[in-house]
Symmetry: C2
Subunit: 365 residues, 2 copies
Amino acid sequence: MPAGSPLDAYHKDLPATPFLAVDVDVMDRNLLRMATSATQRGLALRPHAKTHKILKIAQRQLDYGAVGLTVATIGEAEVFVAGGIEDLFIAYPLWVTGEKANRLQALAERVRLRVGVDSAEGATMIGRHLAGSALEVMVEVDSGHHRSGTQPDDAGKVARTAARAGLAVGGVFTFPGHGYGPGRAGAAAADEAQALSAAAAAMTGAGHPPAVVSGGSTPTAALTDRTAVNEVRPGVYVFNDAQQAELGSCSWQDVALTAVATVVSRSGRNVILDAGSKVLGADQAAWATGGGRLPEYQDARVVALSEHHATVAFPEGHPLPDLGEMLRIAPNHVCAAVNLADEVVVLKGGAVVDTWPVDARGRNS
Amino acid sequence: MPAGSPLDAYHKDLPATPFLAVDVDVMDRNLLRMATSATQRGLALRPHAKTHKILKIAQRQLDYGAVGLTVATIGEAEVFVAGGIEDLFIAYPLWVTGEKANRLQALAERVRLRVGVDSAEGATMIGRHLAGSALEVMVEVDSGHHRSGTQPDDAGKVARTAARAGLAVGGVFTFPGHGYGPGRAGAAAADEAQALSAAAAAMTGAGHPPAVVSGGSTPTAALTDRTAVNEVRPGVYVFNDAQQAELGSCSWQDVALTAVATVVSRSGRNVILDAGSKVLGADQAAWATGGGRLPEYQDARVVALSEHHATVAFPEGHPLPDLGEMLRIAPNHVCAAVNLADEVVVLKGGAVVDTWPVDARGRNS
């Protein structure tokens, strides 16, 4: 390893490669920075826990001032409620049939629970099962990512349908996912503000002014328009990843989670690491430089990933790492990498200090 | 669902979406077809179990005549040995240090075990720990995929180094992964035959004629040159996937594993399904039509995948599925999808007949 690498002096402590390692000091710095930024802007912070799926990190986010957590699925909510979290938002337009309704009912009796809805039909389905319960709905609007979400002008209609179906309407939310691209975060944050403002006006006009107006993502959180938004839901910031570093929304020193891998083969200017897509995930945006990045070798490129191999090309003249050497590789999209692992190894000053189970791994339904 | 869909009449039995479903009759047909093809060509069949990671399927492959299993990691080997499999090949150029050596030693004392090696340094490392053990090594050569593997002409040198280090040399292998592309399988199979022949000659010249000459992959298996090769290691064929169907190496009726998902949102010509990259995996070759395929809706395209959303575009004039409807979606790369799931639901004639744990899920080291 290059001098100063987080793995420098502690090889003997490390488990067999490949494994995911979290530098807890870097992670805590990331948590503090986002919490401070949200506080200074007067925004409630509700981190998206789908990134880490780890109870110990969820508790740490609350300790740093988060108002509650965001999750993507009922299964994730169940894990975090069992672990003691008392305020959860399932930021997803659930289609609620009987089995899912029973699970939501059980959760809503224990904690504050909100779920997304993006159509009158979806609101009607939730109301059929959960009218009069403590569950609240949040109307999802599309702010330009063009995934789920109703049009902002229709948010009032969805809210009214939900209320008539016997549901409490908690507010409105969007995910400005089109901010995940070079130079796109500013425009996406502006789109978010415009869409949420229009939706809030429509809901107010329909008699359901939104108490919570929720947006945000890791690349756009610092650009959030606080005149239009009062809550942000970034997820990736806890660890960051190669995507965020390549987008410029963090530095390489802010990447808290990496896969630790061994050089198992060499050929020409390439080395093969034993961490592939089953460790890193296969996410690769069109603008990414490769299948991940090596923070200690900024000029190297991950030119191919297969399930158990990362092919890393080093530039001419750069000394190649030796066979058997351990290297750190940052996944492109850390949410995908964590969801592949049963546990993460926790490092402090390069030494192993703990192992955390990925409590909600694979809880997709 | 369209008439004749495998989910047609049994919605009430199905678990909450998203989940992975295996049509066991289609799977058995796939197992039989590959076993018959290998037998007719006089090739030993050693299926790659990284695709399914399921003990019940491993046993079925042996029942259909497989000579043993291929795996990618020591952890996978440990799971299959614990489940009663007695002949395993770890087709990977392991870099063997103390902890891994101890695990290999324990396995080699119980079952027939072979591991890959692709460098003299790697052979020396294995020999340092495991000289004189029952472990055998297989020399990996590059046949054009340009991942791991030594050059064929160097196979004799690697074999000689391994033998001098006290290791038994079992043979030679390659992975013709460059056959994963439209129209490329034939050339890759020819490359495989040429590389393995050259390597076998080099090893024979070095005094280590290979007993096992192993190649094959799902797209190239039927094209294997039996004058050069005596064992094939296809993996994906057990389930097949959108990639294999788009490559033409199987039909859509041969796709045995799909994710079952619910339509949760609609917008314009798009529907959103609740199975995203955390269920399907994010693998997408440059030539793929999208992030997966819907066998029942051949004209639909998966135009975007995020963690919990598949955005599926339907052509003009095609009736859109309803909100709440359940659809089947074939992952691009089934090995990635299975490795995300803790279990698969087994269907026969559309009805749930069993649930199989993914025993070796996440065993990457």
